[in-house]
C-alpha cells in the first residue's frame, strides 16, 4: 500500500515536472521564465535534501548549509566569469580591474578549467564541512550549541565574502555571465536544458538519499538523533557518522548551488546571510523533517509562495510567511507531509473526547 502510494507520487511528480511543464513551454503555453524559476527551486530542493539528512534524520541543526550552497555557486561563477573574460580578450574580470588588482589571484587560477571548477566546487565545501565537523563533533557540541556556532560561522563567512579584499566581488558578488560550456546562457533551449539537468540531479539526489536513509547507515543516523550516547555504547563511532552525513549534506548544498548559479545569473553573499540560512532550514521544517519527500516539497512550495507573494502581496507577504512558519511549527510539527496525520490525530482526539463526555 505504502509503496504503491509513493510510486504514484513519484509518477505524478515526474509527469508534471518532466513532461507537462516542458511540454507547456514548448507549445508556448508557459514562458521560459516559469521554466527557469522552477529550475532554481529544484536547486533549493537538492540543498533541502541535505538539510533533511543532517537535521531531519541525524538531529544536527546545521545553519551553515547556505554557506556551502554559496561555495558551490561561487565556484561555478568564477569559472563562467573567467571564460567570459578570456573570450572578451581581457585578462581580469571587470570588478578586479576596477579594484586595481593587477594579476589574477592564485585561487582563481584553477577555475579556468570546467573540470577543475566542478571538482573544486565539491572539494572545497566537503573540506570545509570536514574541518568544521571535526572540530565541532569531536568536542561533542550539539543541539542548540551546534546551531548557534554554525550560524555564527555563516555570519563570519558572510562578512568575509562581503569584503572586497577577498577578490570575490564583495557585496555585488559575481554576475554577468554569458555562456556555459560554450552555450549561451540567454538562449531558451539552454535554460530548458539546465532545468532538465536540475530535475535529473534532484531525482538522482533523492534516490541516493532514499537509499542512504533506508540502509543501515540511515538507521544509525536516526539512532544518533534518538540517543547519541546509546550509539556510542553500541560501538559506533558517532563522530565518523556525523562527519560523513555532514559532508554529504554539504555536497548536496554545493551541487544545488552549482546548478543554481547559471539559472539565476548572479551570486552574492546575500545568499548566505542569517535570513537565508534560517530560511533554508524552514523549507525542511515546513515540508516535514525526517521525510525526504517533505524536504523536496517544502523547498519547492516555500520558494514558490515567496515568488508569488512578493508579486501579489508586496506589502504583506512577510506576514503570510511569518504566520505560516509559526503555525506550522506550532500545530504541524511533521510539516506538510504530516498534515494528514496531524489532522487525523486531532480529529480522533476530538472524537475520543466527545465520546467520553457522552
Amino acid at each position: 500500500m505504502k509503496t504503491k502510494n509513493n510510486t504514484l507520487l513519484y509518477i505524478l511528480f515526474i509527469t508534471f515536472f518532466a513532461i507537462l511543464l516542458p511540454a507547456g513551454y514548448l507549445t508556448g503555453f508557459l514562458s521560459v521564465n516559469t521554466i527557469s524559476v522552477w529550475g532554481r527551486y529544484f536547486c533549493f530542493a537538492i540543498a533541502a535534501l541535505g538539510i533533511d539528512l543532517i537535521w531531519g534524520y541525524t538531529g544536527i541543526l546545521s545553519m551553515c548549509q547556505a554557506f556551502f550552497f554559496c561555495l558551490g555557486s561561487y565556484g561555478i561563477a568564477m569559472h563562467l566569469l573567467l571564460k567570459k573574460t578570456v573570450a572578451s580578450g581581457a585578462t581580469l574580470p571587470d570588478f578586479m580591474a576596477w579594484n586595481k588588482i593587477e594579476t589574477l589571484p592564485f585561487f582563481w587560477q584553477p577555475f579556468h578549467s570546467f573540470g577543475w571548477s566542478v571538482a573544486l566546487c565539491l572539494l572545497i565545501p566537503a573540506a570545509f564541512a570536514f574541518i568544521i565537523g571535526l572540530v565541532l563533533f569531536r568536542s561533542r557540541i550539539k543541539g542548540v550549541y551546534m546551531a548557534i556556532i554554525t550560524q555564527a560561522l555563516t555570519l563570519a563567512m558572510w562578512l568575509i565574502f562581503l569584503r572586497n579584499e577577498t577578490n570575490l566581488g564583495g557585496t555585488n558578488g559575481l554576475t554577468d555571465f554569458n555562456s556555459i560550456l560554450g552555450y549561451p546562457l540567454s538562449s531558451s533551449s539552454v535554460k530548458l536544458a539546465l532545468y532538465l539537468v536540475s530535475l535529473a540531479v534532484l531525482c538522482t539526489a533523492y534516490f541516493c538519499c532514499y537509499r542512504i536513509t533506508h540502509s543501515k547507515f540511515g538507521k544509525v543516523l536516526q539512532a544518533i538523533r534518538d540517543s547519541e550516547s546509546r550509539v556510542s555504547y553500541t560501538a559506533y563511532k558517532v563522530v565518523d557518522y556525523k562527519l560523513a552525513v555532514f559532508v554529504v549534506a554539504a555536497l548536496l548544498a554545493a551541487v544545488g548551488g552549482m546548478l543554481y548559479l547559471p539559472q539565476t545569473g548572479i551570486i552574492t553573499p546575500g545568499r548566505m546571510d542569517v535570513k537565508a540560512s534560517v530560511e533554508m532550514v524552514m523549507w525542511v521544517a515546513l515540508g516535514g523533517r525526517g521525510n525526504l519527500k517533505g524536504a523536496v516539497i517544502g523547498a519547492l512550495l516555500v520558494n514558490f509562495l515567496y515568488s508569488i507573494c512578493t508579486s501579489l502581496f508586496p506589502d504583506s507577504w512577510l506576514f503570510i510567511l511569518g504566520f505560516l512558519f509559526v503555525i506550522t511549527v506550532l500545530y504541524f510539527d511533521k510539516g506538510f507531509m504530516g498534515l494528514g496525520d496531524t489532522i487525523r490525530q486531532k480529529f480522533s482526539a476530538a472524537r475520543l473526547k466527545t465520546s467520553q463526555t457522552h
Binding site: A147, I148, Q151, L153, A156, V326
Partner: protein, 548 residues
C-alpha cells in the same frame, strides 16, 4: 553677568587701537548687509567688512558666522547661547553698540525664537569671514570656536595678534580651549626663541601642556631644524615621549570600548540567557523585543515633545526606561501565552517559530513607523567625561555600563534573593520536580518570559543612545548575543556576564589589530577552539544530572 557680553566688549576694547579707520563706511556696509537690495550687494558688504576689520562690527560678524543673526523691529540682534527653561533667549544688540536688551522695567528682555526674524546669510557669504574669524572668535562664547581660533592663530607671528592672544588667554576659562591657546602661544614663542635654553623651555612647556597637536608641532619643529641640532633632537625626544603616553591612553580607551561593548552584549544576552535556561527556548525574536524597547523610547519621546509639549528635557528618556521594560515585557508575555507555551524544551522548534514571529514583528514595525528613526540623546548624556585631555569617556557609554551593572545586580537579587528567583532557578534545574513540589511552572515561565523580554526592551532603550532605531535592528545583535549565552554556559548568570565582557574585550582588542570584520572571524575561531576545551560553556553543570 553674561560672559559672552563681556568677551565682546573686551574684544572691542582690545582691538580699538589697532584699527580705527572706516567707522563711517562700516555703518554703510552694515545697513547694506541687513537690508540688501540684491544678493550681490550683501555679499560685497560682508566682503568689505571682513577686509576693513573694524572692531565695532565684530559682534555682528560673529553673529553672522555663528548663524545667530536675527532681526527685532528691523534691528540686528543676536541671542544668548542657552535658552531659559521656557525656551526664551536673552537678546543683544549688535551694531553700533553691543549691549544686552532690556525691557521697560530694566529686566533682561526674554523672547522666544518665534518672535524674531531669522536673517539667512548664505554660507558662501559667511565664508568670506574665514580670514578674520580667528580674531573675533577668540572672544566667542563657544569654547570649541575659541579652540579653533587659537589653533588657527598659531602660525601668525605679528606682535599685535600675539598680544590679543595673550589677552584672550588671560580670560580663558575652558580647560580645552586654554590648552589649545597655550599651545599656540608656545608655538609662536618657540619659533621666536633664539637661544637653546629658551627654545628648550618652550619645548618643555609644549610637552607639559600636551595638546592634541603637540607631537605634530614638536616633530615639525624637529624636522625644520629651526635653531640647532640639539633643540631638534630635544623636541623629537619629547614628541616620542608624548606619543608613547598617548598610546598608553589609547590602550585605556580600547579597554573602555571593550567594557562598553561587553556591557551592551551582557544587557542583551541576560534576558536571553534567563529564558533559554528556564524554558530551553531559543528566542530568535529576542532582538525584536529590543527593537520594541527602542521604538517605545522613540514613542515616549514623541509623546513628551508633541502631546505633552515638554521640549528640551531629558525627562522622557528616564521615563522611557521603565516604559520600554514594561512594553517589551508585556509583548513577551503575550508571545509566551500564544506561541512559546507549546514549545517548552523543544529548542530547535522554538528557534524556527520565533523566527517567524520576528519576521512578523519586523514587518509590523516597518508598517507602523516606516523609516529610519532616531531618538534624541538626553542633554545629560551628551558629551563625555574628560579623564585626561586625551581620554574622553562618552557619557552615553558610561551610562550603558552603569545601567548594565544595575541590571545585573537586580537580576542577581531577583534570582538569588527572592522567592520568585528560587522558583525560577528550581524550574530551570528540573521542571517536573518543581511542578511536583507545587510550583506553578507555567506561571513562573510566563513571568520569566516577561522579565527576559523586558530586559531586552531595556537594552533596546539603552541602544538608542548610541545607534538608530530601525525595524531590523535586532538582527544586528542576535547572533552575537546567542554566542554570549552559549559561551557562558546555559542559564548561568556569571557565565553570561563573563562571556559577554570577554567577547566585548576580545572584539575591541582584535579590532585594534585587524579590521573589524576579521576581528569578528578571529573571535569566532577563538570561541570554537574554546568550546573544544569546554563544550558546555564557561560554567557547565557538573555531575551525573548534567549528562544527557
Amino acid at each position: 553677568m553674561n560672559t559672552s557680553l563681556l568677551r565682546m566688549l573686551m574684544c572691542c576694547l582690545l582691538l580699538l587701537p589697532l584699527f580705527s579707520a572706516g567707522q563711517d563706511s562700516a555703518s554703510i556696509y552694515t545697513a547694506q548687509l541687513l537690508q540688501p537690495t540684491a544678493d550681490s550687494v550683501r555679499t560685497q558688504a560682508i566682503g568689505r567688512l571682513a577686509i576693513l576689520r573694524i572692531p565695532a562690527t565684530f559682534p555682528l560678524l560673529m553673529a553672522i558666522n555663528d548663524k545667530k543673526l536675527y532681526l527685532l523691529d528691523e534691528k540686528a540682534v543676536t541671542i544668548d547661547s542657552n535658552p531659559s527653561s521656557e525656551g526664551t533667549y536673552r537678546l543683544y544688540s549688535l551694531y553700533p553698540n553691543n549691549t544686552l536688551l532690556t525691557n521697560s522695567s530694566g529686566q533682561p528682555l526674554l523672547l522666544p525664537l518665534s518672535a524674531l526674524k531669522t536673517v539667512d546669510i548664505p554660507r558662501a557669504d559667511r565664508l568670506q569671514l574665514a580670514g578674520i574669524a580667528p580674531l573675533f572668535n577668540l572672544f566667542n562664547s563657544d569654547p570649541q570656536k575659541r579652540s579653533l581660533a587659537y589653533s588657527q592663530l598659531k602660525h601668525t607671528s605679528d606682535s599685535a595678534t600675539l598680544s590679543i592672544l595673550k589677552a584672550a588667554l588671560a580670560k580663558e576659562s575652558n580647560a580645552d580651549a586654554l590648552r589649545t591657546g597655550k599651545d599656540a602661544l608656545y608655538a609662536i614663542q618657540l619659533y621666536k626663541a633664539s637661544t637653546t635654553v629658551s627654545a628648550k623651555a618652550n619645548i618643555d612647556s609644549i610637552a607639559d601642556n600636551w595638546s592634541d597637536n603637540a607631537p605634530v608641532l614638536l616633530r615639525d619643529y624637529a624636522r625644520s631644524g629651526f635653531l640647532n641640532q640639539e633643540t631638534a633632537q630635544y623636541a623629537a625626544a619629547k614628541a616620542a615621549g608624548l606619543e608613547k603616553r598617548y598610546d598608553n591612553l589609547q590602550r585605556v580607551q580600547h579597554f573602555f570600548s571593550g567594557l562598553s561593548l561587553g556591557s551592551i552584549l551582557v544587557l542583551i544576552a541576560l534576558g536571553l540567557a534567563i529564558v533559554y535556561g528556564l524554558a530551553g527556548i531559543i528566542n530568535m525574536a529576542h532582538g525584536e523585543f529590543m527593537m520594541i524597547g527602542a521604538y517605545t523610547t522613540y514613542c515616549t519621546q514623541i509623546v513628551f515633545t508633541k502631546a505633552l509639549g515638554i521640549p528640551q528635557t531629558d525627562l522622557f528618556f528616564f521615563f522611557a526606561l521603565p516604559c520600554s521594560f514594561l512594553v517589551a515585557g508585556a509583548l513577551g508575555w503575550v508571545l509566551e501565552r500564544l506561541v512559546i507555551r507549546h514549545l517548552y524544551a523543544k529548542p530547535l522548534e522554538s528557534l524556527l517559530a520565533t523566527w517567524g514571529v520576528s519576521l512578523i514583528l519586523i514587518q509590523t514595525a516597518r508598517l507602523l513607523f516606516g523609516d529610519l528613526t532616531a531618538v534624541k540623546t538626553p542633554q545629560l548624556l551628551a558629551g563625555g567625561w574628560q579623564v585626561s585631555p586625551h581620554l574622553t569617556l562618552p557619557y552615553n557609554r558610561l551610562f550603558i555600563i552603569a545601567l548594565s551593572m544595575l541590571v545585573v545586580l537586580f537580576t542577581y537579587l531577583m534570582l538569588y534573593r527572592t522567592r520568585l528567583g528560587l522558583q525560577i532557578r528550581s524550574v530551570t534545574q528540573n521542571r517536573q520536580m518543581s511542578a511536583c513540589l507545587g510550583i506553578e511552572t507555567r506561571r513562573v515561565a510566563s513571568i520569566t518570559f516577561f522579565i527576559g523580554s523586558g530586559l531586552a526592551g531595556l537594552a533596546g532603550c539603552a541602544i538608542t543612545l548610541i545607534g538608530n532605531v530601525v525595524p531590523d535592528m535586532g538582527q544586528t545583535y542576535i547572533v552575537d548575543s546567542f554566542l554570549v549565552v552559549v559561551t557562558g554556559g546555559v542559564g548561568k548568570l556569571a557565565g553570561t556576564i563573563l562571556s559577554g565582557l570577554g567577547i566585548g574585550f576580545f572584539t575591541k582588542i582584535s579590532e585594534s589589530f585587524f579590521q573589524a570584520v576579521y576581528g569578528k572571524v578571529f573571535i569566532l575561531v577563538f570561541i570554537m577552539l574554546f568550546m573544544q576545551y569546554k563544550p558546555k560553556g564557561l560554567f557547565p553543570d557538573k555531575g551525573r544530572i548534567a549528562e544527557d
